[in-house]
Symmetry: C2
């Protein structure tokens, strides 16, 4: 019984095969995403993984259906597993925007789906960090979102040597287009050519551009000039004030293929150009109005960052930490007559928030100790009888070999002893 | 554009309507689930939300299809959105078990789906905490899993007054059945009657039982007697040693409807009997063999706990904390000439791991201050000019009104000052 093509199993480390996906790495990424969003005052939301098909065709047109995981459900509804989060978000915001002070700053970590052609490495699902702001037209909102994007990447240890954020503007391209072409119905076709400019052959692009009345050179000159619009200048100033200026550059190659962007657009790339874009986003001031059938009109912008490219990048830069164990204390049970007392100790340690492991069944002491080392436990603990007939807990720091002991059941003394020894509680917070 | 019936949107608090679902409460529950699993040494895994239909019919029979969100995908595959996690888990373990030391202790927090009849409160998706152990037959494994289940519920503030874990045994019921009926093909039918005994009318149960050759009284007597099997006695002793004995009782009413359980079974109930079962599980020693086509044979047990009943219970016991804000510091920008300097401060504070809010655009100072109070920020911060032409950061604790100041840009002094004031860093860890 195999899993479906394009879907992933996520295993705990150590991984069963080199190409298996790590649930630990996934959780590490999700935690960084959430933690950075929190620092920026973004709040989490989520929506259904299954939506009416119309929600997606309304935004992207009927062409999108070919890429969707869509079907007819048992109630005869045309539905689709969500290929992106933004339409759901626009629906949610349109319904509830009166409850929330503007600007609304929200994030989500949805799993997204598409019925992609199968092939090696071609996935049909991925996770995406989505951050969006509603209700603010000022470029200061764009800067806030871009700063968040930069800081998320920095939180993984990535630096200016690893990535750059290319900043562009649909407005600038619209101005360029309108000054030279009077047929607005051709604008989207033009944007598509610009979007593919870096990957396509110059002759082909030149041919397509000339059909729309543009010369390749004037387009190349415009990109080369790279004069920031006043909006882009405001964003650059804002980011420079934060000390993040060196992470951004204006680059009119970026235009974002999707039809719905209305202003500033941006993409994060690795500096070495080995990977696809790490993240991308921009303004989409018309979407809430479209999705709400004209009832609500709110400016909006945001970005999405997938887990797959990010993980590849972090691996290639050796920025993933080791995830092999989270055990704080291994309780050794060497005398089976003390098993019940050991269980009492185990419970007390877990109630102190420590991750505790032990042998469920009788096992030779050297094997237990070996297991403690395999799990990279920081401490071992053992219940021992004392001469007067009492019971003590012997605690050993497996790194420093330092030992200490306390009467079994004296929870406050036990807690004090553990807090006094190394790696606690700082290491605990790392697990949270 | 409405969402599909039976699916949920999750909003940040404050909620737009009283019946809206809270993403903050959801994350609070997920964090407690993960944190308790970590203390018990369980590791996280996940699988695809979409699986071959056969994976579920193999385990539960063709009858299950009527309840599934199943469809034919564009590649002509019969697929289903997962209604439960265990078949996926069994598949994953069967493939990879050699990599992992036994017992394998894993958990997941999947979203599960079913095509339930629509109706108020009837959901077509929920989230479920799944904890399972593979490779250990001893009742000590059952005790470990049950202790984890108890401690998860305790982590929410629930006590012996709120819930009880009813412990039973398929083995005991099989013995009961086999001593009185020689037709093993009727065993499942018999178990179904027992499963419904508490909810069905006694006459009806009596009638059905007599058709299988049992009297209602002998069944009632067996339940009444409630003699623990040696397995159950071992589990009770184990839990009592941990100090968790008062959370469990043997109760043979519990048998768990599903066909695949093979040994100890259990359910967690609220003491007042207001809700459906909070959690349920048991041993299923044959499933890995079945799913792997006989290739791998591993004893297994586990439980599932849904988010919906748990949330209802926590609400009714007033055990949900307030989630209205996570802002640590609100930066007031009263002089627009200092906006760039304020942005620098904002960045520094966020790099210190604080959650920082501010007005993206110029706003009157009293409105900014009002917003800081609304967000329940613990501190306000403000950049001010000093006489000699320098810049200082004024920090104010909004609870104690205590003020302090430090030169702008002196990050280590700023950090020290913040760590010296109240609510830090303990409150920070609560956000992680």
């Amino acid at each position: 019984m195999e899993r479906l093509p394009g879907f992933r199993d996520f295993y705990p480390e150590p991984l069963p095969t080199p190409d298996a996906w790590s649930c630990d790495a996934r959780q590490y990424i999700f935690n960084k995403w959430r933690e950075t969003a929190r620092r920026y005052g973004f709040r989490e939301y989520d929506g259904p993984p299954l939506e009416p098909l119309e929600l997606f065709t309304l935004k992207s047109g009927e062409e999108i259906v070919g890429q969707l995981f869509n079907f007819i459900d048992k109630g005869e509804r045309a539905v689709a597993m969500r290929p992106e989060m933004t339409p759901t978000l626009a629906r949610m915001v349109a319904v509830a925007e009166r409850t929330y002070k503007k600007p609304i700053k929200w994030y989500a970590v949805p799993q997204l789906f598409r019925y992609e052609r199968p092939g090696k490495g071609r996935l049909r699902e991925h996770f995406q960090f989505n951050c969006d702001v509603f209700g603010e037209n000022d470029p200061s909102a764009d800067a806030e979102v871009i700063a968040l994007l930069i800081d998320v990447l920095r939180s993984f240890g990535l630096t200016t040597e690893d990535f750059v954020l290319r900043l562009s503007s649909r407005n600038a391209w619209e101005d360029f287009f309108n000054k030279r072409n009077s047929d607005p119905s051709k604008a989207y076709e033009f944007f598509q050519i610009i979007d593919k400019l870096e990957r396509a052959k110059p002759e082909e692009s030149a041919q397509k551009l000339s059909e729309l009345g543009f010369s390749y050179d004037e387009v190349a000159d415009f990109i080369q000039g790279g004069e920031p619009t006043s909006e882009l200048a405001a964003i650059l100033n804002n980011l420079t004030a934060r000390g993040l200026g060196e992470f951004v550059k204006v680059d009119y190659h970026v235009i974002r293929g999707l039809a719905y962007y209305t202003g500033v657009v941006f993409e994060a790339f690795d500096r070495k150009g080995e990977f696809r874009a790490i993240a991308g986003g921009g303004r989409y001031n018309n979407l809430v109005k479209l999705i709400s059938g004209g009832k609500v009109d709110l400016p909006a912008l945001g970005f999405g960052m997938g887990d797959v490219v990010l993980l590849e990048l972090l691996k290639s830069r050796k920025l993933l930490p080791k995830f092999d164990s989270q055990t704080d204390i291994f309780v050794l049970i060497e005398d089976e007559q003390l098993r019940c007392d050991s269980l009492k100790l185990i419970q007390q340690l877990r109630e102190q928030n420590f991750s505790v492991e032990y042998s469920l069944t009788p096992v030779k002491s050297d094997k237990q100790f070996k297991r403690a080392l395999e799990l990279n436990a920081t401490h071992s603990a053992r219940v021992e009888k004392t001469e007067p007939g009492g019971l003590v807990v012997k605690l050993k720091n497996l790194k420093t070999r330092a030992e200490s002991s306390v009467a079994l059941g004296d929870v406050s003394a036990l807690s004090e002893m553990l807090n006094a020894t190394t790696r606690f509680p700082s290491d605990l917070t790392a697990h949270q």
